[in-house]
C-alpha cells in the first residue's frame, strides 16, 4: 500500500511543474505562437522565487516574483517576435540560453542555502482519512492550482467567446484581423500568460519539488513541457496524461536506482524524458488528428495589411 501511496504522491509532485509550464505553452501555441524559451523562463522563475523567499521569507511574494520573472522574459520574446517580427524559433532558443546564463549568474550566491518551502495543506477531517486523505487532500496548494488552471484553460478555450477568438487567431490570423480582432494584442497577452505559468513552474521546482536552488535545476523539463503540448495534439486532457506519465517514470527510475540495479544512473535519469516522448508519440501517431488540432498558423509572423 505504501508504495502505491508513495507513487501517487510523487507522481503528483513531479508532474506539477510540467503541467504548469505546458498549460501556459498550450495557450501560447493556441494563438499560433511558438515560444521555445520555456526552459529559460522556468529557470528565471526558479531563481526569482527562491531568492525572494530566502530574502523576505514570504512565499506569496516569492511566487509573485517568479511569475513576474517569467513574464518579463516572455515580454522580451513577445516584443522581439510580435512587434519586431523576429523569427520565433531562433528567438525562443536565445531566450532559453539567456535564461540559463542569467539565472546562474543571479543564483551564484544562493547555491546550497535554504529558503522556506511550500507547506502542504492540512484540512481537518478530510486530510486525516487514511489513504484517501493522503492521496487527495494533503499536497501543497500549487498542485491543486495547476489542476484548476488546466481545467480552466480547457473550459476557457472551448466554451468562451474569448477562447473562440484565440482559436480563430491560431487558425487564420489574417481572417481574424479582417474581422477586426487585435491579433498582436491577443498574442501578447497569451505569451505573457505562458511566461507567468513557466515562472510559476520554475518556482515550484525551487520551492517545493527540490527544494533548493542549483544551476540548471530545471534539467530539461521546459523542453518536455513543449513536447507534451505537441504530442498531446494541443488537447488539455492529454497534457494531464502526459505529465502524469512523466511523473510516474521519474518515480520508477528513482525507485530502480534505489534498488541498486546495475544500470548506469545516467541512463535511468534519461528514461523519463525519452519514455514520455516515445509513449506520447505512439499514442498520438494519428497524423490526421494532429493536423486537425494543430493551430494552422503556428510559428508564422503576422503583419497587418499583408
Amino acid at each position: 500500500m505504501d508504495i502505491v501511496i508513495n507513487l501517487l504522491v510523487s507522481v503528483m509532485a513531479a508532474s506539477t511543474p510540467l503541467l504548469l509550464a505546458a498549460t501556459g505553452e498550450l495557450v501560447v501555441e493556441k494563438v499560433a505562437v511558438l515560444n521555445l524559451g520555456v526552459e529559460g523562463m522556468m529557470l528565471m522563475g526558479a531563481i526569482a522565487g527562491f531568492a525572494v523567499a530566502h530574502e523576505t521569507g514570504s512565499l506569496p511574494l516569492a511566487l509573485l516574483a517568479a511569475i513576474f520573472a517569467g513574464m518579463a522574459l516572455s515580454l522580451l520574446f513577445a516584443f522581439l517576435t510580435l512587434t519586431l517580427q523576429a523569427n520565433q524559433t531562433a528567438t525562443g532558443l536565445a531566450l532559453t540560453i539567456f535564461g540559463r546564463g542569467f539565472s546562474a549568474l543571479v543564483g551564484a550566491g544562493y547555491v546550497g542555502i535554504s529558503a522556506p518551502t511550500l507547506p502542504h495543506i492540512h484540512i481537518p477531517v478530510l486530510s486525516d482519512i487514511p489513504v484517501l486523505g493522503q492521496i487527495l487532500f494533503s499536497y501543497d496548494p500549487l498542485i491543486y492550482l495547476a489542476l484548476a488552471l488546466l481545467a480552466f484553460v480547457a473550459w476557457f478555450l472551448s466554451k468562451t467567446h474569448a477562447g473562440l477568438i484565440m482559436r480563430a487567431i491560431g487558425d487564420q490570423h489574417d481572417a481574424a484581423h479582417v474581422l477586426g480582432y487585435k491579433v498582436i494584442r491577443i498574442r501578447y497577452l497569451a505569451v505573457l500568460f505562458g511566461g507567468a505559468m513557466a515562472g510559476l513552474a520554475g518556482a515550484y521546482m525551487s520551492l517545493a519539488y527540490t527544494p533548493l536552488w542549483a544551476q540548471d535545476m530545471i534539467a530539461g523539463r521546459g523542453w518536455v513541457a513543449l513536447a507534451l503540448v505537441t504530442f498531446a495534439a494541443w488537447r488539455p486532457f492529454w497534457l494531464l496524461i502526459g505529465a502524469w506519465l512523466f511523473g510516474a517514470m521519474m518515480y520508477l527510475s528513482l525507485y530502480v536506482q534505489g534498488l541498486g540495479v546495475p544500470v548506469p544512473s545516467a541512463f535511468l535519469s534519461a528514461v523519463p524524458y525519452i519514455g514520455t516522448v516515445v509513449v506520447l508519440v505512439l499514442i498520438s501517431r494519428d497524423s490526421r488528428r494532429i493536423r486537425l488540432h494543430r493551430p494552422a498558423m503556428l510559428g508564422r509572423a503576422f503583419q497587418a495589411g499583408n
Binding site: 467567446h161 477568438i165 487564420q172 481572417a175 474581422l179 486537425l292
Partner: protein, 510 residues
C-alpha cells in the same frame, strides 16, 4: 430625391508605385443592386476595402445616409450597417459554422440563441447551412452561404459582394441572385463586383466602371451589351470572340488515363474512381464539375504530385508515367498549372524570373552546369510578361506583388511558352478579367492548334463550352464519357454535374 445610402466623393488612395484610386466617386441608392466593374488592378478591391474600413483613403469623403463618416475599421463598418462577403473567404477551417459566425458578430447580444437564428435566417433566405459542421468539410458554395448568413444576422443596409459567382455552379448562382433580389427589395443595397458581364446585366440596376484607378463610366447595365461594357472596361474595342475552330485535325493520343484510381489522401478529399480518358494532339478536353468533386485530386494525379501507382495508368506521349513524379513528367513534355496560384503555382516570395526559371530550366537552356544564366532567364521572363500583358514592374518583381489575375496570366504564360506536349490547366481564368481571359484562351487554342493535347479543369461552364472540343464531367470522383461539344447542352452537362451518370452511387457532394 431621397439621400443616397452611400456616397463617395473624390476618394484617393496612393500605394507605393501605384495610384490605386484616383478621385473616385461612387453613389449607391437605397434598394439598389449596384455593379462595380473593372479589370484586375483597376482599383475595385481598394475601393471596396476603403468602404469596409480595411484601408483608409488618403483624400476624399464618405457620406453614409447623408452624413459624413470616417470608417476606421471593419467593426466600425459593420456597426454602420455595411457587410462584406469576400472573394477569398475569411473563414476559419478548424471551427464550426456557428463558431465562425459568432466571430463575425461584434455585439454580444447578437450571439444569444445564435444556432436558432442561423437556422431561421438560412431557411428564410434559402441559404441552407448546418451550424454544427466544421467549415473544413464544406464546399465553396456552402462557405459562401456562411458568409452571407453572417452578414444578414447583423441586418446590413449595404452588402458588398466580391465576385460571388466565380466559384458557383449556374444553379447555385441562380439561387444567389434570387436571394440578392429579395434582399434589395427589403431595403438592403448591394454592391456587386463581378467579371461576368451577362450576370451584371441581368442582376444590377446601375453600374460604375473603373479603369486604372479612375471611374470611366456610369451606366445602366441592361441598356448596354456585354461587349460594350467590356470595351469600356479595357478601353479598346474587344476583338470579336474567337470563332470556333473547325473540327480539329486530331493527331495521335498524347495523354491517356487507364482506369486511374486514387484513394483520397485526406479525410475531406474525394477518391478518384477508375478514370479513363484519351486526349489526342490538337484537342482540348474540358472537365466540368462542381468544386470538390475530385478536381484537385485529378490535377494532383495528372501532375504527379500524388502517384497513382502503376506506370500504365498515365501515358504521356505513349510513355508510361504513372510512377513518375512531377519533375520526370515535365521531362516527358507535360506542363501543369494548378488551381492555387500562391504557394502552389508560384513561389510567392521569389521574383517572376526565378519563378519562370523553376518551371523552364528543364527545357529552356537557362542554366549551364548548374549555374543560372540570369540574363537569359530575365529575357525569358520579360517575354512572358510582354506576350501575356502581365501588369508588373518587370521580371524582378516578386510574385506576391502581382494581383491574382496578373499572376495567373504569368503562370499560364510560363507553361504555354514551353511548348508542352500535354498541358493540364486548372481554373485557367479564375479571377482574371475579360481582356486577360481572352489572351489566356487564345494562347490555349494556339497551343492545341500547334499539336498539343490540352486538358482544362474548370468550374466556369462558359469557358468550358468556349474552348473545348469534348467535354467530360467529374462528379464524386468519377469522370463521365466525354461528349463532343456540338452534342453537349448546358442541361445535359448540368445533369452530369449533379452526378446523374453515377446514379448507382452516392450523389455528388454539393
Amino acid at each position: 430625391m431621397t439621400t443616397p445610402l452611400l456616397q463617395l466623393n473624390g476618394i484617393v488612395k496612393q500605394y507605393p508605385g501605384c495610384l490605386a484610386n484616383d478621385h473616385v466617386d461612387l453613389t449607391i441608392d437605397r434598394h439598389q443592386i449596384h455593379a462595380l466593374l473593372g479589370e484586375n488592378g483597376a482599383g475595385k478591391s481598394t475601393l471596396v476595402k476603403i468602404i469596409y474600413g480595411v484601408v483608409h483613403p488618403d483624400e476624399g469623403s464618405i457620406l453614409w445616409q447623408g452624413e459624413r463618416v470616417t470608417i476606421t475599421s471593419p467593426a466600425h463598418a459593420r456597426r454602420l450597417g455595411i457587410g462584406m462577403v469576400f472573394q477569398h473567404f475569411s473563414l476559419f477551417e478548424a471551427l464550426t459554422v456557428a463558431e465562425n459566425i459568432a466571430l463575425g458578430l461584434d455585439n454580444p447580444k447578437d450571439r444569444v440563441n445564435l444556432r436558432d437564428r442561423i437556422i431561421k435566417i438560412s431557411a428564410s433566405y434559402g441559404l441552407p447551412v448546418d451550424p454544427d459542421r466544421t467549415v473544413h468539410d464544406l464546399s465553396v458554395g456552402e462557405r459562401q452561404r456562411i458568409e452571407i448568413v453572417r452578414c444578414l444576422l447583423q441586418n446590413p443596409k449595404l452588402l458588398i459582394m466580391d465576385e460571388p459567382t466565380s466559384v458557383l455552379t449556374p444553379k447555385e448562382a441562380e439561387t444567389l441572385f434570387t436571394t440578392l433580389r429579395r434582399l434589395a427589395s427589403e431595403g438592403c443595397s448591394i454592391l456587386y463586383i463581378s467579371h461576368k458581364l451577362e450576370e451584371v446585366r441581368a442582376l444590377c440596376e446601375a453600374a460604375t466602371i473603373m479603369r486604372a484607378g479612375r471611374v470611366v463610366a456610369q451606366c445602366i447595365p441592361a441598356e448596354k451589351t456585354a461587349r460594350e461594357l467590356a470595351s469600356i472596361m479595357i478601353s479598346a474595342d474587344l476583338k470579336p470572340a474567337h470563332e470556333r475552330r473547325p473540327a480539329p485535325t486530331v493527331g495521335l493520343p498524347r495523354l491517356v488515363l487507364n482506369k486511374l484510381t486514387l484513394r483520397a489522401t485526406s479525410e475531406f478529399g474525394t477518391s478518384l474512381k477508375s478514370i479513363s480518358l484519351t486526349v489526342s494532339g490538337g484537342e482540348i478536353v474540358g472537365i466540368a464539375g462542381i468544386a470538390g468533386n475530385g478536381q484537385g485530386e485529378l490535377m494532383d494525379a495528372l501532375s504527379g504530385e500524388i502517384l497513382a501507382g502503376k506506370p500504365e495508368t498515365v501515358l504521356l506521349d505513349g510513355k508510361p508515367a504513372g510512377h513518375l513524379g512531377p519533375y520526370d513528367r515535365r521531362k516527358l513534355g507535360g506542363c501543369f498549372v494548378p488551381e492555387e496560384r500562391n504557394g502552389h503555382g508560384a513561389v510567392t516570395t521569389m521574383s517572376l524570373s526565378e519563378n519562370a526559371y523553376l518551371s523552364a530550366h528543364l527545357r529552356g537552356a537557362l542554366s549551364k552546369l548548374g549555374v543560372i544564366n540570369h540574363r537569359r532567364t530575365n529575357t525569358y521572363a520579360a517575354s512572358i510578361i510582354e506576350r501575356f500583358d502581365v501588369r508588373t514592374t518587370g521580371p524582378a518583381a516578386l510574385a506576391k506583388s502581382l494581383s491574382g489575375g496578373n499572376l495567373q496570366k504569368f503562370l499560364v504564360g510560363r507553361e504555354v511558352m514551353l511548348d508542352p506536349a500535354v498541358l493540364v490547366i486548372s481554373q485557367p481564368t479564375w479571377g482574371v478579367d475579360a481582356g486577360a481571359a481572352l489572351a489566356i484562351h487564345e494562347a490555349i487554342i494556339a497551343l492545341a492548334a500547334a499539336g498539343a493535347a490540352v486538358v482544362i479543369i474548370s468550374q466556369d461552364l462558359d469557358e468550358i463550352f468556349q474552348l473545348s472540343d469534348r467535354i467530360a464531367v467529374i462528379a464524386a470522383g468519377t469522370l463521365s464519357e466525354p461528349v463532343p461539344v456540338a452534342e453537349a447542352s448546358l442541361e445535359r452537362i448540368g445533369l452530369l454535374m449533379g452526378g446523374s451518370h453515377t446514379a448507382s452511387e452516392a450523389p455528388a457532394h454539393v
